[in-house]
Amino acid sequence: MMFINPERSKFEGVVKAYSAELYRYAYWLCRDRFTAEDVVQETFARAWQRWSGLRDDRAAKGWLYAILRNEHARLHERKQLAIDPDQELDTLMDNSGANAFDAFEMRDMLAALPETYREALTLQVIGGFSCAEMATMIGITEGAVMTRLTRARQAIRRLIDPKPLIKAKES
């Protein structure tokens, strides 16, 4: 006769619910599908080791993202931030029309973003985290998260169309 362990069952549910989005987060951190799978495997290995420490099931998602982030940092030395502090948000652009290359080009553009910008964008788009949640996870202020997100999207818009069409006014 087989007995179902409730903790194992719960862990199985968490693996099934979050492995895909964690893989995508890992992929955009390291941009290598094999490494991404390794990082996801290590993340769940750590999570299972510390499973008894998880008090609130609702916190599982953020907890797993945080473990994955640490695992990635541990396995792959994080690159130096490539942020230009003088970059101003004075020129904001419209984008051009879509064509069949869009998805490929967009992936190239995302890959070309500085890691810190891309990470914030991934956490927001894939993970659905708020700026405040991301701030706690990354260990920076909410304002800094917003700046990264703003600059990430601004950079993508510049790559889509380098010609500035709309200028924002301070008025």
């Binding site: 199985e12 492995s19 879509a98 995302l110 991934t122 894939i126 917003m146 999207r153 709309i166």
Partner: protein, 235 residues
């Protein structure tokens, strides 16, 4: 709230519009237009971020931690698929295929490329699509332009982009398209000059090799009609 503040907030969180932002939107048409374009970009970003997840990832995680043993039905399915594979291999070896006469009769020039391209699509493309490697769109654009072709927006989406080496040793830029007429492979060979246009049918696929000023291109699809329609869109 001024325009700059509004745009900062839209770029930071396009899906969370505050009451203050809404009030600004009502009185600033340019910011409304800007917000709309950011939301449009957001859909493209979200789509691009959804990279394919390796098949069976969750199962492998669970197996590694001993949470779940190998699925009995999965084992049976694996055994069944192995039996089918062995059967298909035996059948393929014993029974001549429909396009064999093309392979053996005139395996030169354009025919050779066409048959090689069909073999390449059948033998390698499924794996390439799984691997999700992206080639350089700039290289692809240059090859298209050299051959006087274009990919209009209504042709569908690009599922794969890369460099291919066909079984006959020829090289080309390889594009897999999901068109309104189905899955179509386009191989661009800017440096390959041919004299005549050739259409070949082999292993249930149709291939077309067409010479151009700057080289030639190959189209592979499951029907001659699809080839015709997609070619018309490219030219």
């Amino acid at each position: 709230m001024n325009c700059l503040e509004f745009r900062r907030l839209v770029l930071a969180a396009p899906r969370q519009i505050t009451a203050e932002q809404e009030a600004h939107l009502e009185r600033c048409a340019r910011c409304a237009e800007f917000a709309q374009s950011v939301v449009h970009d957001e859909a493209a970003i979200a789509q691009a971020m959804l990279v394919p997840v390796p098949e069976g990832l969750a199962e492998r995680v669970l197996l590694r931690h001993g949470i779940r043993g190998p699925n009995r039905w999965g084992t049976l399915a694996l055994a069944a698929s192995l039996l089918v594979a062995v059967g298909v291999a035996f059948y393929s070896h014993e029974v001549p295929r429909q396009g064999d006469e093309i392979v053996s009769a005139q395996l030169s020039g354009a025919n050779q490329h066409a048959v090689a391209a069909i073999a390449y699509v059948l033998d390698h493309e499924p794996q390439l699509l799984k691997e999700n490697r992206a080639g350089d769109p700039k290289v692809m654009r240059a090859a298209l332009s050299e051959l006087g072709l274009s990919l209009p927006a209504n042709i569908g989406s690009v599922r794969y982009l890369g460099n291919s080496v066909l079984p006959d040793g020829s090289r080309g830029e390889h594009i897999v398209l999901q068109t309104p007429y189905g899955h179509v492979t386009l191989i661009l060979m800017p440096d390959e000059f041919l004299e005549s246009r050739v259409a070949v049918s082999d292993r249930n696929l149709h291939a077309l090799v067409a010479p151009r000023w700057g080289g030639c291109y190959l189209l592979i699809a499951d029907s001659a009609q699809t080839l015709k329609r997609v070619e018309a869109m490219l030219l």
